[in-house]
Symmetry: C3
Subunit: 418 residues, 3 copies
């Protein structure tokens, strides 16, 4: 640890060994955390929520990302915009985290009043020399990808979000995100660095020993395994999965549902991956009995068994789009050893709780899975803090996508450090 | 933020822009907080309480200021003295924060026993070579300004407290602080830097939108407004206030109550300001119905409508002296983002709770106001921590005294940094 | 404080004044805390528990020392071994702190499975290039001193533990630690630096004013006093103690119980001290009535009045071995201002609670004493944090063994700093 703590971030980046977990300071150093907030969360597209979070003009949502707070608000022209949540007078935070319905953005301190477009409309006692035009809310770049909202805190946001948006549009269209609503949101604080949260999400090697609920609908095989090491039962299961994958993809694509993997996790600034995955048993949804949780189908879907479209973005999101509901996740760093995992369950906007869906049934698989993952992230952080920690090897079969996350992260640091 | 964090404290002091809020590191940097504790709270007169906190010989009070703890104790000679609350043996903190009645100052660890004058009277087992005279409690400079207690942690306290004491004596005398007692004390921890606490206290621009209780007795006009921007109702109200101010000052001064403003907030080491302000409606006191909260008048006052004498000191106190009671406030830094606001309500020493005053009625205006101010300080701190924070302009009308606080603070740092 | 904070650790070590408490940064500086964890707790023998904590094959205990976590486990060959509690795959902490009964050491994350000897027995999906032999648990040096377990985190542990083990064997043998069991364990977090915890343990100057329960069985005279300062009652008591000491030692040694002081607190890397001390009144045990708390005698002891064998080790343990029970303490640093004091009460392995002993009676003296000591350590830490703190003189009579602790600590730093 003492050798590592003498190394610069640049040296640590340079000596990163492919195929191995990151060295301890990447998980534990407050200094590297500040670099992460600057380089990764300050200059890349960050997933923050969905258009249905602010469905109508005047709907606002404040989202905190580390020390930054951002107001997402839908204007009278139906456009969704983002602004820094900082008054231009004495700098007070204007809106508390969460949602609000507003006519203007009014600072509670001295009532400075901004329009939904960010312009300063009213500031008392400021005298004749004061120019309101120079004191509007500072804008933040925002992009809706088929209804998924991404913001970028940089003045120069990566342009390749266009590629991701174009590639994802046909995959996401059938689920018609804009016509859903948020049935439930959970905020869970994990006791670990945000990269442990993300690495945990990028593999299912840990699923069998830890996720009894999730492994009912989800095949762990979809994320890699060692074929040589399988016994006869294992081989039979793996073959069943491979055949189901082939057949499902053929059926879905024939029916106009793009399903094949697109994988740009490590070769793009705005890294992402998608693939439509079969669901086990009835094949309908990520529920305890694999049947749909909501009676109203999303979009124009008539086939109940459309599996789950998996969509991941670097650095901080993952999503499952099913025929009846969507589960969408963002990881938001708090400090070097704490991360907020925010989960939203979306159903058709006309679905009525207690009639069309039962909230418990809708949320129970991922609620349990999130808690289990939080425990794993916590023991990962405890271990990374131990002076005896030594970065071990990833499985070449089941942790290839963890490697792609780590490689993307290291590349982005390398590209940004002077 | 990264540019700011590379700048030295000296550079930040030098580039401070008059008329604008301070830059973020002044509110958020642990390093500048340590400078504040050293330069501002270590070398200036700090208000800590009132003589009625220790009314009799043997009455003691321990007050913590950041990492320092000070014992204030009245000796058998009736003198009030201050000492560092640190045993000269193994350095234990001797008295817990708060009040005590004591015969000697006895360290609980090994019973080292000091007199009320700080001399070491007894230390067992120390052998013949040990000289008790070299091991008395370390003294702290203490000054009573008409009953208000100020301490200075420096060996070389600013001499100009004499000027303040002389100027304030005739203003404070009629309220006869020494013949009051503390009816109630509240300790409220604000989630913000101490300078945000002080800046918030130095203006009433925020009163109308935030303080429904305080604005019953207190005129926001007394702290500045933009005359051009007033509508007809506003102009009428402002004129009513100006006329009331003129008439009240004439009446009070004729009756021997000094009332005119003395303002040395930014041009003295021991900066201060005072002025007697009219109270609205019945004109008696800062209560919900503007009537006296206590039946016993302070000092020899016979006029019930003596308004509220406002007294501010740099860096950490403000006070309201009325005919029937006094409210006195100190701001004590805890760390760069937390500040203790200690409020004491004083009534005539013979006043009996439930007979002469109702505690709820006495305290409700400032109890509510303190909580509201704590919320404002918290959003100020959240905003200052946001990388998007940018110091905005003060109102030339309503925030002139905030500017004087900021200017005093910057001047004091500039004078003290090498 | 500012001068001290500019000094290097090496300068502070060099200028330490013998006979005086340590300077403040030794108690308050996070930097010196890291040096302590590296030099003192990273390169010396640390007391962590007793063999009866893991009496049978498959019994395991995880102990945390600062950021390190260590697994102590008894193998199928009855050997007790220690390993770093960090998985060699992605570094997760394997066992939570506390005890477990296990067949293998299994990481909960991806089920990597280690034998009780630390060898990696099973790791799925790792492919043909992976060598399990290179991925066993990292061993930690462990030594049982007559049943007391010491670990050393260094690859090069001090060899002189052999001397301590040899010297202590005849003193400890009569109490037969291996045939006891842990009747109760308490974990108490003290709000102070670990050295304040240890210094407090090394003297009984504070006993009379603070420990009404402990001073029933324990003579404060055993730890030094100033003979000149005694009044007639005091002199009589001191003489009674000296005579009791002479007589008891003669009787115990004649009966085969080594009792005389061995003192190597400051002249060994593995510093220690032992002495058998008389108990007041009935002379049996450290209980409220000085009578044995447990009906079953330890080892082969037939004499009920064997006093209390005191055994101290540097840097972090103290112990009392009586005829009927043992109380054993370890101090484990948490951060520069928090320390875990772990206390275990041991009785004969066949003793039955409620039949042979009453748990309340067994534990009440040290439970009360621990809480009182925690209060003293807390005021010591508060004082050390005060800028007015100045290291005062130790009593030449009652604090000579505190001086030996401080001298050992300073010597060890001096020997280890480059």
């Amino acid at each position: 640890m003492s050798e590592q703590s003498r190394l610069s971030v640049k040296d640590l980046v340079a000596r990163r060994k492919a195929g191995y977990a990151l060295e301890a300071p990447f998980y534990t150093s407050p200094k590297i955390f500040r670099v992460d907030m600057d380089v990764i969360f300050g200059r890349h597209w960050i997933y923050v929520g969905v258009e249905p979070d602010v469905p109508e003009a005047g709907d606002a949502m404040a989202v905190n990302i580390g020390p930054s707070s951002i107001i997402i608000v839908r204007g009278d022209d139906e456009e969704v915009r983002a602004f820094h949540n900082v008054c231009r007078h004495r700098g007070a935070r204007i809106l508390p985290e969460g949602k609000a319905i507003i006519g203007n953005v009014v600072c509670p301190y001295h009532s400075w009043t901004y329009g939904l477009d960010g312009d300063l409309k009213f500031a008392e006692h400021m005298g004749p020399g004061f120019d309101p035009k120079c004191h509007g809310l500072k804008p933040v770049a925002l992009r809706s990808v088929s209804g998924l909202l991404f913001i970028c805190l940089s003045d120069n946001p990566p342009a390749d979000i266009d590629d991701m948006a174009a590639a994802m549009a046909p995959y996401l269209a059938p689920h018609d995100i804009r016509n859903t609503r948020v049935a439930f949101q959970s905020d869970l604080i994990e006791d670990g660095n945000w990269k442990l949260t993300m690495e945990n999400n990028r593999e299912c090697y840990h699923c069998a020993p830890n996720h009894p609920e999730l492994t009912i609908p989800l095949f762990a095989y979809g994320f890699g395994f060692a074929p040589d090491a399988l016994d006869e039962d294992g081989r039979r299961e793996a073959e069943r999965y491979a055949e189901l994958m082939r057949a499902s993809h053929a059926r879905w694509e024939a029916g106009g549902l793009p399903s094949r993997e697109i994988e740009h996790l490590a070769d793009r600034t705005t890294g992402f991956r998608t693939e439509r995955l079969p669901i086990d048993q009835s094949g309908e949804s990520q529920t305890m009995d694999t049947r749909a949780a909501c009676r109203l189908a999303l979009g124009g879907l008539t086939d109940k068994s459309v599996g789950g479209l998996s969509f991941w973005t670097q650095p901080n999101s993952w999503h499952h789009f099913m025929g009846d509901h969507i589960v969408t996740f963002s990881a938001i760093p708090i400090d070097e050893s704490h991360t907020l995992v925010r989960t939203k369950w979306l159903v058709h906007k006309d679905a009525v709780e207690g009639v069309d869906y039962d909230l418990q049934r809708l949320t129970e698989v991922w609620d349990a899975t999130n808690r289990q993952d939080a425990d794993l992230v916590a023991i990962g952080q405890q271990g990374a803090t131990d002076p005896a920690y030594e970065a071990g090897p990833y499985s070449p079969y089941t942790e290839g996508l963890v490697e792609k996350f780590a490689a993307w992260y290291i590349d982005r640091l390398a590209a940004s450090l002077p």
